[in-house]
């Protein structure tokens, strides 16, 4: 019995470890700070391990893990963070180093996995400027690929609310990219044409 239970626990632990990158990405989008993100993921994983319930894991482990992480964020961490920063993949920013300089250094980094086009940078910056309620739905839908219903489960709101927030988030993104003179979208060409 103990052997079977250990095997079962190992299986659940693998679910947590397999989703660690996704959890870290979501934590980064919420906290916008790699140190806070790391602590946030660690706390969420601790709670997940303590509260391992077979049916939760089996139904949708990613949704379950994202939900725990977001609850930890709301209950404990949100008040601690300050400043609208969004740190993309790469080295951690040093104490006192200017964000613009850090970003400039990052562009020089020879990293094949890192999307470095101007448009992507502008979009990431625009997403970082979105209010949290919009940012989280954009990240969960377009970065993590969750359905409206799954996002609703993570955020504790109906799928209709998710759809409405996504719609408003996209309008804001359109407007922000317009302001940044991003000449890449059809709607701009049509307007100017």
């Amino acid at each position: 019995l103990i052997g079977f239970r250990k095997q079962e626990s190992d299986c659940y632990h693998n679910v947590i470890l397999d989703n660690l990158d996704a959890l870290y990405g979501f934590a980064m989008s919420l906290s916008r700070n790699p140190i806070d993100a790391e602590d946030l993921v660690q706390e969420a994983c601790l709670r997940a391990i303590k509260g391992l319930v077979k049916r939760d894991i089996q139904s949708n482990p990613r949704v379950w893990l994202f939900t725990i992480l977001r609850n930890v964020w709301i209950n404990q961490w949100r008040r601690r963070t300050k400043g609208p920063e969004f740190i993309p993949l790469g080295k951690n920013r040093g104490e006192g180093e200017r964000f613009e300089q850090w970003l400039l250094d990052e562009r020089e980094r020879p990293d094949a996995n890192f999307e470095r086009s101007d448009l992507s940078e502008k979009i990431r910056a625009a997403i970082a400027e979105l209010p949290e309620v919009f940012r989280e739905v954009v990240v969960l839908r377009y970065f993590e690929g969750l359905s409206y219903r799954e996002i609703g489960s993570v955020l504790g709101c109906p799928a209709g609310t998710v759809m409405s927030r996504l719609s408003r988030a996209r309008v804001q993104l359109h407007n922000m990219l317009d302001e940044k003179n991003t000449p890449c979208f059809l709607h701009r060409e049509r307007r100017s044409g």
Binding site: K6, W64, R190
Partner: protein, 271 residues
Amino acid sequence: VDNHILKYIQSYLDEELEQGERLIVEAHVQRCADCRFALAAERELISAIQKARPLYRAPDSLREKVAWLCRSDPRAGSIRSWVPIAACALIALAIFWFVAPGPFRAGTASFVTTAVDTHLRYLNGQLPLEVFSDSPEKISDWFAGKLPFNLKLPDYPQTPERKPYHVEGARLVGFKQDYAAYVVYRLNGHPISLLVTSDKVATASGGEEIPWGGLRFHFQSVAGWKVLTWSDNGLTYALVSDLEERGQASCIVCHQNERVFKGLQTSSKRL
């Protein structure tokens, strides 16, 4: 003239439409240049967002910490870790049985405890809902045939003012070797849990008794949570919330008319 399908474009691109709805959108955009253009523009934005996805990798230090946490999980341990836990549980159970007040032994308080525990587990993300809907009727339909009793959630017609609450979803919860109904509402951002079971397995008693409207409500504060229980028509209910005073505002989920729960408020103050 076709109606434009602009409002369905987002759901179409996010793959949230049924097959039939998708076909309608696709047929429409083939003959409507405006909608075709809007669809292409939205698709382009979504594609650009997806391409901008930062590829994070959890730092090795974090991976090691989480792996260590997993290895430290007592459930994955040997029989030695189970012995003290089992012994403590037995001792606690024995103490509880001898010192607990009558209502606890009668099983009523366990319904309150289950309601608060269920509320907490839901808030902590450990209890996902099994059905999501803002329609009380759909949730009542979902419960049909799954419970040892009939449950119909009240669904008041839409008033000109926006309802201050909405139902989020529901699930089954084990209670006394059978299922109880668990429904989650939200009132002005505050989650409210409603647990319902048959009055054969739990009756409302204990705490502060508040008679109102021919029923007897019982108010208790458990670990800071406001719990109202009552029995009516063969069912026993528990409402758990963090609302003001006795949490009587949570009664709105069944009583759209504010007068009803204001009456309860007045009665409780009178006592």
